[in-house]
Subunit: 357 residues, 2 copies
């Protein structure tokens, strides 16, 4: 199967080769070394300030979103959340569950939140800001410069979920004054799902240590403390962490994060150029390099997904809920090539000839 | 490396073969079918009563221990915990964090809690009981019949963490009147770590649905609800779930859970017979088939671990904390053979000749 979803995505042969090996015992200096390398490269690729820390949570991106909400915000905070899709909405639900006072700013459908919209929230005693940089459910990349400006002038603690944007779109924690960044193993890291990663600035680390949370598994103090010696408080998904290690080193050897972004951008641009004459509408006005959300003009989006899966051996990414028939998404992350794009375009062309598009 | 730890353990070639393949997209009927098979076989192997449910949490065993404490007990409960090692102690910490009133019963070192000890807690208004069937840190298997009797006559809701005991020691949820059983992917399931499994009796399912928990990721209502259609609320460790599927079917084809236990018991008995003339003391008086805890009479236990790792290509399982120098453990789970036991015994023999044992 050729995989154009936004996760799990296709892994490199080197990463798959590690999946074929026995998983090693991990309470060893050898595994600690791997973990310390992972932390160093994650900090580097996130362009995190000196003294930042990265922790690896065995769990989905939501586990890390929840851990961050619990570990850095509390009842005395008031956070602003960009609620432009199901992941933005999830941050709002998490604040609800953990009793963190919040308000939401809702961008126009398919668009980024704007500097003008944000300006309406100036001087309103917010203390934090939560945003999913690429709202994966809608394929909308938010204007992180406008968000960063807003947070800087209001002195807000900025948390960015970059789950699908990391390694795809330009991002600089230090320059943007981002305190926490979240990502997952199965997006552009192109490893199997099971690990999410949280990069914390020194200010965020300090905040985590100063707070008490009502959780053992999602208490980041334990993760930070154990991480100092390259370990985790509980048995992690060791195999996936070894795969992440190989992948991070691959990226480093291939020119680092900037070249990884160039590569994803090229795959995305190639795809978008090639679909120009197909009966699709791109429904995002602010695209991430990670994904293209498409509305098929003549047929059900979910039927396109099913037909490609069952008759062409290709996965695209269906949308859920009320969007299921209207929009599907094509991911540009993982080990995809220009030739893979061609195969998908050919399948679309064939479906068109069969009056299925 | 030859792996005699208690997790991660060695996987079969079939399981490793799945690790070598691309991880598929999972919001599909195909993956739902796999998950429903997983649930059915887990219920079957746990000998769970009709109408039981199994949920798969992407996280370590501790994530599931915490989820269970949160989802089935509350401030109106009073639970008794067998605190005979670090995992029993962890249940106590979890009750502390989640404000579940509890008391602990501490067995004699290296021994099971006894019927006589438990009788002292009769008629004391307990509502629940938490036990790690095999206290993995000490290699002590508790007397589950005595525990079940105690719970039955006091009408306690019995939760059993079988993380290292599942598929190793006889266990029958229905007969023992166990309401919740927990295990993990990296123990006798012999898959990579990253997934823990919770089997819930109909009574436990009802209790989960009746309670509100302050968590999104560890809210079992969402897992149960999504599980009805073979899905998970968040992106799971898809690859490991496919490996679990292969492994559960392997066990089924090989004679089911009873034969899996026979196999583990034979590996354990073979090892214990072969070490009779070596300078070790078995420090548990109530052994699980999963693991043998050994005190080397003449040298540091941690030095034995390091020497076997660095000079013989063999991992045994070190103990942590103050036990590190006194005790190591030899696991009997995963794809081990009698010949593997011989290799370890030969290494011990060689170390003895070198005055390292």
């Amino acid at each position: 199967m050729l995989n154009f979803t936004v996760g799990p995505v296709m892994s490199s042969q080197e990463v798959l080769g590690i999946g074929a090996q026995q998983v090693p015992y991990f309470r060893t200096p050898e595994f600690s070394k791997v973990m310390l390398e992972n932390e160093g490269l994650m900090n580097k690729f996130a362009k995190a300030p000196d003294g930042s820390r990265a922790v690896f949570i065995t769990g989905s991106g939501t586990a890390s979103m929840e851990a961050v909400v619990m570990n850095v915000f509390g009842g005395n905070d008031k956070v602003l959340i960009v609620d432009g899709g199901s992941f933005g909405h999830r941050f709002a639900q998490l604040c609800e569950i953990h009793q963190v006072p919040y308000e939401t700013v809702v961008p126009e459908d398919g668009c980024s939140v704007t500097a003008e919209q944000l300006a309406e929230y100036d001087d309103m005693e917010f203390t934090g800001f939560l945003v999913n940089l690429d709202e994966t459910s809608k394929g909308v990349l938010y204007d992180i410069d406008a968000i960063s400006d807003f947070c800087n002038r209001n002195e807000l603690f900025l948390v960015v979920d970059s789950i699908s944007s990391f390694l795809c779109d330009e991002f600089d924690m230090e320059k943007l004054n981002v305190q926490v960044m979240i990502t997952g193993s199965q997006k552009a890291l192109a490893c199997p799902p099971g690990i999410s990663v949280i990069v914390l600035s020194p200010k965020a680390v300090e905040r985590v240590y100063s707070r008490k949370v009502r959780s053992m598994y999602l208490d980041l103090k334990a993760a930070l403390k154990n991480g100092e010696r390259g370990q985790t408080p509980f048995t992690p998904a060791v195999g996936i962490l070894l795969q992440i290690n190989a992948r991070l080193k691959q990226i480093e050897a291939g020119g680092g994060v900037d070249m990884a972004i160039v590569r994803t951008a090229a795959i995305a641009a190639d795809f978008r150029r090639k679909i120009r004459y197909l009966p699709f509408e791109i429904v995002s006005k602010s695209l991430s390099n990670a994904v293209t959300p498409l509305h098929p003009l003549n047929v059900s989006a979910y039927d396109v997904f099913t037909c490609l899966k069952d008759e062409y051996g290709i996965w695209i990414c269906p949308n859920g809920g009320e969007m299921a028939d209207k929009v599907f998404r094509v991911g540009h992350i993982g080990c995809l090539t220009f030739e893979d794009n061609d195969r998908l375009i050919e399948a679309f062309g064939d479906m068109q000839r069969r009056n299925l598009l």
